[in-house]
Assembly symmetry: C2
Homo-oligomer: 331 residues x 2
């Protein structure tokens, strides 16, 4: 089909909603915002952030791209509003595959109450998706930034970490499957992460003082949060909840499995700080909202050091990085 027919078929899949006054097909989409909006952009590129060949159906590619962007809204504690996507389409991606990608975004949009409100489709030598998401709140106070952590706050994390890194290792070396009972579950953590929008909103309502999503890895993202808040952080490595089998897979892949769980990115869980007295309420709220655990893994300190304690008195030196596949290639 031609470019405009493809665009038209994509448009048929886009959403509507109370906030969307004029949808795709005009020069711009017109929306009715709430009092204050949060906007985030996240781009993913084939061969850098994902590998097309790792997906049996390409709807997973669309899901992951949108999930990564929505995860930033989750970390602001805000509900999702609209998403806009630019897709770079290489010549060897046929129209049905392009629509599969859009379908993956449509499905996650529906699950998260997001309106897929517009975008752009262009020719490109490489498949890429650039996703802009917009969340709404009544006032700026409703957002949780990275900057509000205070000494003595508890450091908490949602869900389990290490699954995405283990999933990536499994995709790179299928022989590692022998090391773990449920390799498919780990691969899904890498291929189709879940944005923790409900958990983030629950944490905001429970009084989280700062929050960040774990896209670059716990150790690296903790540094970001500490820097923005002007505080130090202590992380008890042994307290960090890990995905079942992640250590075993990453140990077998080479290197220190625990360390790779703590440094591995793309889990898209949330790292937050919260006054210790509010932790129990927050844990219950996160569990009720999203059915996942909230675990205390350390504490906010004065100073500006991020200290990750490992078993045997070892310390982990936090590294920062993105582009997971590129990093894995260097390992």
């Amino acid at each position: 089909m031609g470019e405009f027919e493809l665009l038209s078929r994509v448009r048929d899949r886009l959403g509507g909603g109370e906030r969307l006054l004029l949808g795709s097909g005009d020069d711009a989409s017109v929306t009715l915002p709430a009092g204050v909006t949060a906007t985030s952009v996240d781009a993913v590129v084939d061969g850098v952030h994902f590998r097309r060949a790792d997906y049996r159906r390409l709807d997973g590619v669309g899901r992951k791209a949108l999930a990564a962007a929505l995860s930033d809204l989750a970390a602001m504690g805000v509900e999702s509003g609209e998403a806009y996507v630019a897709i770079g389409v290489p010549a060897d991606l046929d129209d049905d595959e392009c629509l599969e990608i859009v379908d993956g975004m449509v499905a996650l949009s529906a699950e998260t109450g997001t309106v897929l409100a517009g975008g752009d489709i262009v020719s490109s030598p490489v498949l890429f998706l650039s996703v802009t998401v917009v969340g709404h709140a009544a006032s700026a106070e409703a957002f949780v930034s990275r900057a509000g952590a205070r000494p003595e706050d508890s450091l908490v994390v949602t869900g389990e970490l290490g699954g995405a890194a283990a999933g990536l290792a499994l995709l790179a070396d299928p022989k590692l499957e022998d090391r773990v009972a449920d390799p498919a579950r780990l691969r899904v953590r890498q291929l189709e992460p879940q944005p923790r929008l409900a958990a983030g909103h629950a944490l905001a309502e429970a009084g989280a003082t700062a929050m960040i999503d774990l896209s670059d890895g716990l150790a690296g993202d903790a540094v970001h949060l500490g820097e923005q808040s002007g505080v130090g952080l202590r992380i008890d490595g042994e307290a960090v909840p890990l995905a079942t089998g992640a250590i075993e897979v990453l140990d077998a892949a080479g290197g220190d499995g625990l360390q790779r769980c703590l440094e591995g990115g793309e889990d898209y869980e949330l790292l937050a700080t919260i006054p210790a007295a509010r932790f129990d309420r927050a844990r219950e709220a996160v569990n009720a909202a999203e059915g996942i655990a909230l675990t205390a893994i350390g504490e906010v300190l004065g100073g500006d050091e991020v200290e990750v304690r490992l078993p045997g008195g070892r310390r982990l030196k936090p590294v920062r990085g993105f582009d997971q596949l590129a990093r894995l290639a260097r390992q």
Copy 2:
């Protein structure tokens, strides 16, 4: 420099403003919208929408990417608010070149009152920019969609057409320079288009009933406007104001110069419909706001045909397309 140092240096260049409550460096940028927002996404890819090698300095690449996105806001008749950009950075683009691109966006942002409020920088095998722009208005009635044209409205266009197509031909074949007195001016129309934000706003205030920006070419974009409004259009090819030398260059490049002016994209002028009685006022307002002409080039008709009349009783069959370089390559 490392990825995070580059990000930090990019952040130093980003803007602030009354609407920006929390800028880049957090999970999302937080803004205070007006009553209603218009959002548009525009992606450009090296080798498809521009050629890096055509730019002496890469600030022009940033300018063009942002200009193409802002042109969509201009066509809504709305003033620009914020811009967000995702940049795919190939390994052979060094950090200074990346900052040049950002500097080009910063310069055009300042000229247009746009706040560059956030974005993403990722590794990519090809240089691409995906730009999301947001404009604000007090109410939905302030926006001019593509859908409001009514029979007997005048069809009007800002500025001069054909310059971008001629500039592209000059870049492809420098020998064509002999055909024209000022080839540099035509190349600039291709390399660094100007979004007509002030003209678009003036047209909206003067009572434009429908508007679209000329990214795909007059003939093709007229079809879009006609379809969205459910009307036919008559365009008098000889009335269309052309950039000086454009016909001569495009004649020499092969094919019919006038036809290529009418079909060539990327002029980023505005095509609008307006009641005939309001044309004089609109022309004065556009000239006062942006220092360019507004020219009546035809009329809105009943039916659904877009008819482009050429000299000698010929008719042009409108074609639609994007990806200018790809189209040129097919010619």
